[in-house]
Structures are given as C-alpha cells and as structure tokens.
C-alpha cells in the first residue's frame, strides 16, 4: 500500500475517534454523561494505525486495553451506538451499562474489559496469548507499564516467544505526575533487556508502520510518545498548546482529509442525537 493511501486509511479511523470524543466532551459539559470518562483524544493515531496494520495482515488480535480505551474500541471496529449507550449507562451498551468509559468490553472485536487496577491487563493479556497463541495486543499507559506485575509478565512473554505486541501509549503523565518524577528509565530499554524487539517512536502512522514487520511474529514492545489533549478524566484541558497529531495530519493530507473529517463529524453527531432520542 502506498504511504499516502495508508495515511488516509489511518486518518479515517482517527477521525472517527476524534469526532466521537468531541461529542463526548460536549455531552460531558452539558452533563448528559454523568460518569467518569477518559477520552483518548490526542492519542488516537496509535490504535488507528495498529488497527489498519492488523487488518492488512488479516489479523483480528485479542485486545487488552486499560481505562483510556474508546479509541481502541472504535479503531478496531466496535459498534459506535453501543459505545454511546454504554457512556449513557444503558443496558444496551457494549458492557451492559456497567463498564462505563473505563471498562469497555466487546466480544465481537475480541476486546476484553479492564477491571480498573492499572496494569492488570499486562499479565492477563500474556496469559490469554499463551493459552490461545492468538495475536494479542496489550495497551498500557506509561504509568501502568511501571506496575511490577506488568514487567514480570513481559519477561515471561519474551521467554515464551509469544505473538504479543505491547503498546505503551506514552503521554508522559500519570494523572498529572510526569514520568521524570516517577522513573529515570525507558520501557523500550527494559524490553530490550528482556530480549524483545523494542522501539521508542512517536505516534506518526508511518513511524509505526516502519517497525511493524515483526508484529505478532514474536514479542514486540513499542513505546509511542503521544499527547493527551484533555484532562486525565473529564472535559477540561491542561494546556492549549499541546501538539495535536490530528490537526497536523489533517493539514498535511489536505482536502481529502478535511472532507473525511466533515463527513464523519456529521455522521457521529447524528448517531449521538439518535441514541439520545431513543434511550
């Protein structure tokens, strides 16, 4: 696939995620959504790119995310209406209204819900991959990755040469505590010392594509530097000058991307209104 087509495919997914989150922000602000919500805006290129790459490889990996997981669900084809219902606390939601934003579960797309204990998806994902030998992705924040049991599980996954991909969505923050306050080491170095293929890159789709050759062939860790646009939970912003990959790609890809953005925005708005009407 040509790089420009690839980027547009990724942008489509990212646009779905971003427009979805913008609606979430709106409905959080007007208190239609009343539960704690963790939006992925700013970080959506990670799951969007990996989902396009997985599709290209004709794989439907097992997905183990944590609390910030809307974009994983949406990128990998989760039903949008069911996610809206979930955020509204309805029984028709993808997790029967019980999971809310932080614990999205979907059998259809092989996505497993998270329990809220940061990093638990590390060992659980490794176990699932070991038992099924299915391609598996464990998505972790830069903080969750520090959990002891994550590191232990990672080492074991390497020993067993599992077809697993550890994706560290590194937004540099644990709620508001910066990485440099918490540690002086990098996840990719740890993974390398576990004899895994490991990379530190940014969330540019082409950078991710470039290193994707060994995905699901052996254990791989990618630490992807990214930015969280909104607060840890909720609708506020910590800063107005955070680099926004979405805007950057939109500009770079030009008119086609603008059109994709506008079309998807309209669709998502309509979907939200419809779900709110029939609830």
């Amino acid at each position: 696939m040509k790089d420009s087509n690839f980027r547009l495919d990724v942008f489509k997914k990212a646009s779905l995620c971003r427009n979805f989150e913008e609606e979430v922000i709106k409905y959080l602000n007007n208190k239609t959504i009343k539960i704690p919500v963790y939006v992925s805006a700013g970080q959506e290129f990670i799951s969007s790119t990996i989902s396009v790459l997985s599709k290209k490889k004709r794989l439907k990996p097992l997905l183990f995310g944590q609390h910030r997981c809307h974009s994983i669900y949406l990128s990998f084809g989760g039903n949008i209406k069911k996610l809206i219902d979930e955020l509204l606390g309805l029984k028709s939601g993808c997790t029967k209204g019980m999971g809310g934003s932080a614990s999205i579960h979907s059998k259809e797309i092989n996505m497993f819900g998270h329990d809220g204990l940061m990093g638990s998806n590390g060992p659980i994902g490794v176990g699932a991959c070991f038992a099924t030998k299915k391609p598996t992705i464990v998505f972790l924040g830069d903080a969750a990755a520090e959990e002891d049991y994550v590191l232990g599980a990672m080492g074991w996954a390497s020993q067993k040469k599992l077809p697993i991909l550890f994706v560290i969505e590194d937004n540099n923050l644990s709620i508001l505590t910066e990485k440099k306050v918490r540690r002086n080491w990098e996840m990719a170095d740890v993974a390398k010392s576990f004899k895994m293929n490991a990379y530190t890159i940014n969330d540019d789709p082409l950078s991710i594509k470039k290193i994707s050759k060994n995905f699901f062939k052996k254990p791989v860790l990618i630490n992807i530097n990214t930015n969280r646009i909104y607060w840890h939970a909720g609708a506020g912003k910590d800063s107005n000058d955070t680099f926004d990959r979405y805007d950057y790609e939109k500009k770079k890809l030009g008119i086609k991307a603008f059109k994709i953005h506008e079309d998807i925005k309209k669709q998502i708005k309509k979907l939200w209104l419809r779900q709110l009407e029939i609830r």
Partner: protein, 304 residues
C-alpha cells in the same frame, strides 16, 4: 473555629514531616489536589515522596521505610488498590515484630469513596487487613478521632491501617453514641455509615421507635464498650451492624462477637455480594438510610 477532618489530617501530616522528619509516600500525592487537600503542599526534601506506579513493590518500599523507624505515612488513594498494596505490608511489616523483634510502624491511610467509580476503586476494604495478625485498624470520621488515631500510632510500634472515607473530609462535628436501657434496637456503625445511622435514628424517632447508636472507631482490636453491651442486653430487638465493606468480613465477625456476649440477635448490612459498575444504576453503595429503616422495621415485625 472547628477544624474539618481534612484540615486535621493536613496539620498532622505537616507536623509529622516537619517535626519528626518523617516521610509520606504514595502515588500522585502532589499533582492532583494533594489527595483531597489532606497533604500539605511541601516538597520532596520535606518528605513528600512520589512513588512510581508499581503498586506491589510500593507496598514493599514502604515496609523498608518502616524498618527505618521514621514512621512513614503511606497513602493508598482508593482502598480497593490494597489488593496489590497490602501483600508485603501484611506479610512482612505486620509480622516483623513477632518474628524478629523488629517493629515496623507504618501509618497507612486507606481512602474510601464510592459512586460510579467501578468495580475496584470504591468503598472500604479494611476486611483485607482484619483477618491478618500484627495490625491495628481504626476508622476515624471526626477531627478528634483522627488526632486520637495518630496519637495512638505514635505511642505504639505496630502497623496502623486508617480506614478513611472522603465523605468525612468536610466533617467538623464529633459523633456521639446514643445509648440507654430502653432502646428498641442499636446500630453499630463503621466508617461513612455512621452519618447514615444518625439520619436513621432521627427518622425512626419520629415514628416512636428508639434507636441507639454505637460508633465503632476501633475495628482491630474491636473495642467493645461496656455501655454498648448493657444497652444491647436491654434492647427489645438486638442490633444491626453497618459497614462500608462487604459483609463477609469485619461486620460478620463483629456481629458474632456481640451476639456471643449479649445473647441478642445482630444483623449485618454492608456492600452487596456483587460487583459495582461505572454507572449510577450499577453502583454498590454502603447501606442508605431508607434501606436501613426498611431492614429495621422488618426485623422488628418478625420478632414481635
């Protein structure tokens, strides 16, 4: 002006760090509202110690700090995280004095809160600690009780688990027992349920039903006051224990002890035996006043 529980904790912590040159350890202590405003805005050089996200190891790091006799404070932002934080504390710090004669005093602040926060973060989990040796557990809900908890810790060399609740942080009032020898029933209440018990007492009094209140501060050792038993023995319908933890733990064990001493029937109410979700509908809240009243009225009817 009376102080809130929040200010009391903050002041105690400030003095503990400044005067005793101690440490306070935990995750995200300084960045997000200073743990509900309970931590003084000091720096690392003053003892504010940001830990990484390694919850199990963090518990161990705190145990090591405890061995230094600096009497560290450890903040566990949601009590449910104890499933990861507690193992090294319970199996090393709490046993160290007995096995090696090396005390390891740590002041653990486990914080409870509930409402749409999912299956692991919410509520109190003091029962995890309760069944293990070498620990003292207190659940202060008032400023004076908090001071007392801290003073006991400082005069002692055991591990203390302080079962806090965010719902008490604004509280300035002391909560007193209501006991006499002509009561219909006595509520024994723990943590945040103590505020609910007060409401129940007032509502039922309007119906002519006399409810006593026994505030449980000391969970372990479970300090049973003589007056509680005297009133319980004379009560018409026995008692009920309210907890903010699952009932198959502290609450059931307390009920057993109280029943044994008083020969009166004691019921228990706490979290239901199911997981909480992230929405209001799927919450698993501690017993609320209406629910408690219903249970009490049913109990009275059955035992008439």
């Amino acid at each position: 002006m009376a102080k809130t529980v929040r200010d009391t904790i903050k002041e105690i912590t400030y003095k503990h760090l400044k005067n005793k040159k101690s440490l306070i350890l935990g995750q995200c202590l300084s960045a997000v509202g200073w743990v509900g405003g309970t931590i003084p805005e000091l720096r690392e050089k003053d003892g504010i110690t940001e830990l990484s996200m390694a919850d199990v190891a963090n518990g161990g790091i705190v145990v090591g700090a405890g061995l230094s006799k600096r009497r560290p404070i450890y903040v566990i932002r949601y009590q449910g995280f104890n499933w990861f934080n507690a193992p090294i504390i319970l199996n090393y710090a709490c046993k160290s004095k007995e096995i090696w004669n090396v005390p390891c005093p740590i002041f653990i602040r486990g914080i409870a809160m509930e409402g749409s926060i999912g299956p692991v973060a919410g509520s109190s989990h003091h029962s995890i600690y309760y069944r293990m040796p070498g620990i003292k557990i207190i659940s202060p809900m008032t400023p004076k009780e908090y001071v007392l908890s801290y003073k006991n810790f400082m005069a002692d060399n055991d591990v203390y688990y302080i079962s806090e609740h965010r719902g008490s942080y604004n509280n300035k009032l002391e909560l007193k027992d209501y006991l006499s020898k002509d009561l219909d029933l006595i509520i024994f209440c723990i943590s945040i349920t103590r505020f609910e018990a007060k409401k129940v007492r007032e509502k039922l009094l309007q119906k002519g039903i006399k409810i006593g209140i026994a505030n449980i501060l000391w969970i372990k050792p479970f300090k049973i006051k003589k007056k509680w038993i005297e009133s319980l023995k004379k009560s018409k319908f026995g008692g009920i224990i309210l907890d903010d933890d699952y009932v198959r733990g502290v609450a059931s064990d307390m009920a057993y002890k109280l029943m044994k001493i008083s020969k009166k029937k004691i019921d228990v109410m706490g979290l239901k035996d199911r997981s909480a979700g992230f929405s209001k509908k799927s919450d698993n809240l501690p017993p609320q006043s209406d629910e408690i009243i219903k249970t009490i009225l049913k109990k009275m009817k059955l035992n008439k």
